[in-house]
Symmetry: D2
Subunit: 440 residues, 4 copies
């Protein structure tokens, strides 16, 4: 059987919008990626889950099939595709954000297995970006290289506000003290280092110069993984989301990234592209949910009272809405990716923020409808839906982004006022010429 | 002051998605269209309304400024842009559906003034398409030419189902008897002919061969415009939406279009592109509503208790949602337009149907939020919002299209089942190789 | 045929909740009201509309059937039922707010015909309340008596903020200058007086003492009805909603209500009960819309493709949602009415505000679904739906009330904090007794 | 500090609606219940969680504090309150459904701890109702008594359709074979018996006579608890929701309940009251979520950028909407409970179905907003919100009930048609008397 085409996997209408923006290399890579997922990744999904123990040893497990798939992906050149040459000339691949966005959706069609086996999973991607952009040669050699090789997943604190971690110099050492929650990946046995953001100059009048970023080895004395935070009952092992205490942790001065007080700059630079990739993966997840729903409601063994599920008008409507919502969200994210390519992340702030508040809500709704089609089974461990729902729920932090989009839109007010004044002036002439009074 | 750019008028992100798909001619035409609207159309909007009387003479009025604008538009080549050369080689302009879609949004930014002055307004566009595609040489000369010249707006029955009009041959004449509602434009004094769909062979076992289309002069004996139907209190004069009785109306045989029993074929051919143009105009209307809202909430004279309206978080959220919804709907329609260019309307059925159920609801919601920002004034004749709302409401006939989209999606079920079987087979091998049992 | 029971007209479940709170007099009055509506009012609805001319004379028309119905209603004692003896011992009827609320829903089942023929229509009700509560004996004799007799509908400015009308004393006269919009009833030929709120002491440091209320004869020199404001294309003749200018209008000092600077007090006192009656009438309108929808979708002449409209699952769902939403809104308003009976309007602020933001949105949604079931006809003058929609839309001013409810809820925070502290204290003891550490 | 009043715990407006329907006994019991929850239950919530181990021993755990609370509740007479004397004269307490509904909300304010310690938790309540109504004396003595004493939680199959379990007689034994999922409580070590519904006469032409109910000891050979089904990642230990296989299980004939083929009758009788109690508990859960949200957004330690969370208009709006939605749902359920008291469950079918589709969606939305106010912490094990969300999600099976309500509403069509005909007849007379033509 022929492999899925990209138009089939995502949608023919969105693919038509972007196809002519793809380089030959990107097209070829995309085709390889699809074939790889069809041949290797999707068939391995349940095996990966079966290879993760149910008991506490799950936190010490390196899932064998993931290692095998990583090796294959690397050999095929389906590796670190998120790292764009345009932004990272030395380490990157020649893919635009738009090109990668389409690939991220494919990866998102296999939960985090998809991005992990291609070394494209968050939060490692963000960490690699930080080191590729801001790390010095030595830091890159020591920490970036293994990361790019898919070893040693890093760890980061995603939260640039509400910083309560202190980072200060003592002699030729840096001392870190802090308490953090939801440190993704800290539970993973392969994690060798943490990338820690904290306050190094809390009294600096410029709030953007108060923070610094430090590389901290995971086994440094004082690094304590307190426990794993649950996400709606899921532990997300073996990566997990840990509560971590940094208790008088000491590292050499050379572990400071970029320089004192440049933490905000680093975190800002790290955002942008990465975040939109999340969105594309979520769209992949939503598309899988829709496909799953279609399979379920057309399953002949599910007839009730002689009727297929899909013979209910409300079920058909749910499918239609899901299709329309996925498609419009996909186009939004693709166009945001294109804006990033054209104007950098900074010039695409509004488009990125729109994607961030639209996509998670949309995907949650689609997954919820699929759960509904399954009944209780949809919430159980026999389907992946509840797990996907839980992960998507963590991304729905709509309010911040809604306000941001609204504020950006409001910046158009002065230009609108000027244009309106221009038109009013011309209108006045028209009325005057005809001896008429302009209405209020 | 520099004219608006298309990116500014619609959005920079959607423009970036389609810009490279525009021919030089299309780009130039679009720029001319924008300049024309800025210089001539928008300043004339309220004049056009002022030139329409309040009393019954409104139904006999030809609004002077519209005539002037039509002459200018024609001279500038901004004329009949809806008629694509690709589909109508003889009469059409060299614009793709996608290219015209962007222009239709600009036109939609000035209600039906925008499409009327460029001879692109419904339902004339559909009628021109019918005659250009299905009319014989004589019919085209007699009826199409004046239409293409912007004279004699036609009239049509939009409803291909629930047909109760009879069309039968008697000698060398055709006799029409029927009763129709919502015949757009029948109230207009310039209307010279009706294009009537009716049952010519009601007992034909093939339901698609029961109908015919006939050209009927507006002044033929027996054509009675009974009254004007209101739309939420608006009469939409001077075009209006009439209740019309055809009482033993007789026309020569030569007025039959295409042939007996080909009415369904004609009506089907007429749909498609035209309908999506409606969507783009609605997006233009929504964008104007959003701009109006931004102007209102930043109007310094509207402060209440020392606060601007835009300082309320809920107002900001309304603006953000409107922006995101407009943008995603716009991208949906543009991608549907592209599908039509690639696969004809028939190949783009799903995309068209999605656009048709998403856009009107979206636009109604945006206009409703703007009404809310204005309070009672938003519902009055001092703003155009209620009129726009009423017009958009007639377009929201969601259920049909939702079911259609859902049914189309469900057609993917067999392919999904096959792909799933493929993957299961590979999965079975993986488990077997490891001596594991495949989970249920 | 037996008359409708109240349980049938509203709902059996809500009636069961309140029936035992009704006095024998209230029950008897309600039964009479229902019989009157069945025998006289509902059959007369379309006649009333037919008796209103289409042309400008509509503004000078006193609709004959309304006069006849008023005479009958008065004779039956179905008159001024809104005026509760509890609040207005002299003029009122012995009905509680809750009892009247159920009657207001019945009245709302016949648009404003229902409340007009029983002399219970806004804004007259509010004006009667003002004069009954705050007018002196002379004012009551001269102005209240005709109002209570159903003559001389009054007029009022509903807007207590954004006051731009000035009211000042000159010698023994009061001089009024102002410009107002949406003065309901000013277009009616029977209107004899205006009740005008304006600023008499704009610089008073106490914002609540800046305003006064004055009685102004409609034919006083300087009272100019400029034009009628439209509501979504409807003029609401013959009452209308007028733009009015008060241009140096002079009235005797005796026309001042209550005293200088007491305008705010008057307007506040006038709110409350009246507003919730609006809500009950809206619920009546929604219930009529649902009944209309049920009739439509079960109409055998509306079958399409051999299927009744109600055989679509989505139509059934629309009906179910409408039923549930009407019922829950009804219970909310009834419980708010009961709170007013128990705690006066002031003690029921939150319940009133909830009713005000929930009911109009709910009713609009129900009416919109019914419009949808009718298609284009639902928006036309052949159905009352668009008119009802327009009127309901003016009531949806949600944001103010939402914020008000939210703020009131937040006042519960200190009590919640105290209770939580109590519970934590007990919890600490429990853990301590067992030698366990209280979790963070 | 004074204990909460019921008006404070639920809402003053809903309490005012039902207070006068409460017997003195019910009022007294309610007051005792509130005091008990304040003094004993709420302070013990986190202790109960702390006493449940994290590892597999959780499935063998009897949580000590629950036992203590049960003893206290029983002593206080706060025991088996769900079992109404009206329906179960022998074993029941003298409470109406309405009275118990208010108590169920209080219980719902403490998750299943609240209903468990008062011996009112599902699915035991339903099982007790079955045995109390349909069990013979011997069965009651052997199985009902321990249940009423709060020992031996039972187990039931909730699903009356899709039955694949076979129940047949062999000699003087009954043989059961089947496979069931989501058997609540089967994981609990205290569970002594299962109440099994299955097909005893699958070919009976009357579908309602095909099934029977049998009492099966939990330790009978062939009863296999295969595994625990998860609900969004939660196992709900120690009760759990098990997958169970009945593999040739044999029980004596005396274990048959009521008689062969009476399974459907039993299951039907068991529904009704019990289901509405679920709704009231869900309302309690929603109210707790709202209270939690208010506490969070007013927590002074949560200020961001100098602003309290509650200073955002959108947060205030969320609180207001939650308040209004909880209140309207509460009134709906209380009125449904009253209908059950008046008309039995059968006469209240529509009200019950409305409650069942409105309440879970409402509660999920409120809990989701609270989660949003907490951010990631809201999804973690540090808050109870995700667990509550997961449980509520299992209850949202809206579609069935929506269709049921819609179908019931549609039954009003004939009566509506008759009434309309009556009114039309009177209308015709009115027009005729005036020599006018009735409009179409």
């Amino acid at each position: 059987m022929a492999p899925h085409s990209v138009a089939e996997l995502t949608s023919s209408s969105s693919w038509a919008m972007v196809e002519d923006k793809f380089s030959p290399y990107a097209k070829e890579t995309l085709a390889k990626l699809i074939a790889f997922f069809e041949e290797e990744v999707w068939p391995a999904e349940r095996l990966a889950r079966a290879q993760l123990p149910d008991d506490v040893t799950r936190w010490q497990t390196v899932i064998p099939i993931i290692g095998e798939l990583k090796a294959k992906a690397r050999k095929l050149g389906l590796w670190n595709l998120f790292l764009s040459k345009a932004h990272y000339p030395e380490h990157g691949v020649p893919l635009t954000n738009l090109e990668y966005a389409v690939m991220a959706e494919i990866m998102g069609r296999s939960g985090h297995l998809g991005s992990e086996v291609t070394n494209c999973s968050a939060p490692d991607t963000g960490n690699m970006e930080v080191l590729a952009r801001y790390g010095n040669a030595e830091q890159q050699k020591k920490w970036l290289t293994p990361l790019l090789n898919g070893e040693n997943p890093f760890v980061a604190s995603s939260d640039a506000t509400n910083i309560r971690t202190s980072i200060r110099q003592e002699g030729d050492e840096i001392v870190i003290n802090g308490h953090k929650w939801y440190i993704s990946g800290a539970g993973d046995p392969r994690t060798k280092v943490h990338l820690v953001l904290g306050k190094s100059d809390p009294n600096n009048s410029n709030a953007h110069l108060q923070q610094s970023v430090v590389i901290v080895p995971a086994d440094a004395p004082g690094v304590k993984v307190v426990r794993q935070m649950m996400v709606m009952g899921f532990d997300d092992a073996p990566e997990g989301h840990s509560e971590v205490i940094y208790d008088n942790v000491r590292v050499p001065l050379g572990n400071l990234v970029l320089g004192w007080g440049r933490g905000f700059e680093i975190i800002q630079g790290r955002l942008g592209p990465g975040r939109i990739h999340h969105c594309m993966r979520s769209i992949g997840a939503a598309q899988v949910a829709l496909d799953t729903m279609i399979r379920r409601v057309t399953d002949p063994s599910r007839k009730t009272f002689g009727k297929f599920l899909y013979e209910h008008g409300t079920v058909v409507a749910d499918i239609a809405k899901s299709r329309a919502e996925i498609e419009s969200a996909r186009l939004l994210v693709l166009s945001a990716a294109l804006q990033i390519d054209k104007l950098k992340a900074k010039g695409a702030t509004k488009e990125i923020a729109i994607a961030k508040f639209i996509v998670p809500s949309m995907a949650l709704q689609v997954v919820d409808r699929t759960i509904q089609a399954f009944g209780a089974e949809g919430l159980s461990q026999d389907q992946d839906l509840a797990f996907v729902f839980a992960n998507l729920r963590t991304l729905r932090i709509a309010d911040v982004h809604i306000q941001q989009v609204g504020q950006r839109e409001l910046r158009r007010a002065p230009a609108l006022a000027r244009k309106t004044a221009e038109i009013k002036k011309k209108e006045a002439v028209l009325f005057e010429q005809r001896g008429l009074k302009v209405p209020q």
